[in-house]
Amino acid sequence: MADTFALEVVTPERVLVAAAATAVSLRTSGGSMTVLAGHAAFVGDLISSEVRVDRVDEEPLRMAIHGGYVQVDTGRGAVEGVAGVGDGPISGVSTRVTLVVGVAELATDIDVPRAEAAKADAQSRLDALRAGASRTDSSEEARIDLDVQAAEADLARAELRLQVAGVSVS
C-alpha cells in the first residue's frame, strides 16, 4: 500500500476535503507539482487550476480551485485528526498538506448549466467591450480595461469549472 498523508482543503465557508491521500497534484505559479508522503516542508501559492487528489482504494477526487495557498507541514502530530494516515517513508516525520483556498468546488458539485451560462455571459460581455473599444475616449479606457479584465476572469473561471466537470472546452 502506498504511503498516505493527511490532506485538507479548507475554504472560508467550510472544510471541503479532509482525507488520507496518497498524492495530490496541483499548480503553483512556478509550475505543476505532485506532493507525496514525506514531502519536504513547503509553502506556495496556488493558481486557479484543477487539483487532483489520489486516495487509497477510492476514486481520485478532482476539484476546481480559484486561487489560494498550499502548505506542507512536516511536524510530529501534523496528521492528528485525520483517520487512516500513518507515518510517511521517513519514520517520525508525518506529512500534512493544507490547501487554503478562497473558492473550491469538487467536480461532482459543479453546476454545469450554470457554468455554461456564466461562460456565455462573460464571452458576450467581452465581445461587446472589444467591439466598442475603438470609439471611446481615453478617460473611459481605464474603466473599460477593468471591465475587460473582470470579464476575462469570469470566462477563465467558467472554463475551469467546465473542464474539471469533464465538459470539453472549445
Binding site: 512556478g30 509553502v43 506556495g44
Partner: protein
Amino acid sequence: MAGGQERVLRRRIKSVQATKKITKAMELIAASQIVRSQQRIHANKRYRDGMARVVVEAAKGDPTAARRLLGTVEAPTGVAILAIVGERGLSGSYNTAVFRATERLVNEYRKAGVEVRLFTVGKKAPAYFRFRGIEVEQSFQGFADKPKFSDARLVAAAIAAPFINGDVDQLTLVSTRFLSAGLQAVRTTQLLPLVDPATTAAPLEDESDVKAPLVGYTQFEPDAARLLTELAPRAVEAEVFAALLEGAASFFTAQQRAMAAATENADELSRTLSRIMNRARQDSITTEIMEIVGGAEALRRPKGA
C-alpha cells in the same frame, strides 16, 4: 365616569401584550440565528488557522521582508479604520459599543494629527457617524447579518487600497468578537501591516518548537518575500470575513438577550397594569354600591319620617 380609567388601562395592557408577542418572536428568531452563525464561525476556523500558518511560515522564511510588512507602525501619518456593526437595532448595546470605541479611536488619532479614513459595514453606521461629524469614506450595507466570503472580499479590497497605494500606513479593525456564547466584546485589531506572528503568543509557536530539527528547510514558491506581499491582501480578506462572521453571531446574541429582557419587562408591565386595573374596577364597583345604598337611604328616610 370611573369606567374611563379602566378602559384606558385595558387598552394599555392589550398593547403591552401585543408588543410582548413581537419581542418574544424576535427573541426566538435571534436564538435560531445564533446557532447558525456559530456553526459558520466554526466552519471558518480551519481556513483562518491555515491562512495564519502560511503567514507564519512565509514570515519565518524571509525575516528581512517580514520586518517591512509585519509589525506595528510607531508613528503613523494616516490610518484607515473599518468599523463593523449590525444592519438593525433592537440589539441592546451591540452597535453603540462599536460606535463608541471607533469614535474614541478616531478622536485619539485626530488629536495626534493623524489623518483618519473611516470605512463601515452595517446600515446603522453612516447615520451615527454623520451625526457626530465624522466623515465615512465608504459604507457597506446589506450583508452584516449573513456575510458571504465575496462580501468580505469586496470590503477587504476597498479598505486595503489606501494602504497599498501608500495613502495610509496602518489599517485597523473595530468589531465585536464572539469570544464565547456568553461573552462578546469589542476589540480593536490591526489588519495591516500584518501583525507579526512572533509578537503574539500563538500556540503555533510551540508547534514549531516541536519540529525544530526541520525548521529552516521550508521551500517556497515563489520566494518568501513575494509570497508575503501577495499574501497580505488575502490575509486581510480572511480576517475581515472572520470578523464579519463573529460580528453576526454577536449581533444575534445581543439581540436575543435584549429581546428576552424586553419580553420579561412586558410581562411585568402587564402584571402591574392589570393589578392597577383590578383595583380601579373594584373601586368603581364600591363607589357604585355606595351610591346605590346612599340613594336608597335618601329615598327611604323621608317616607319613614
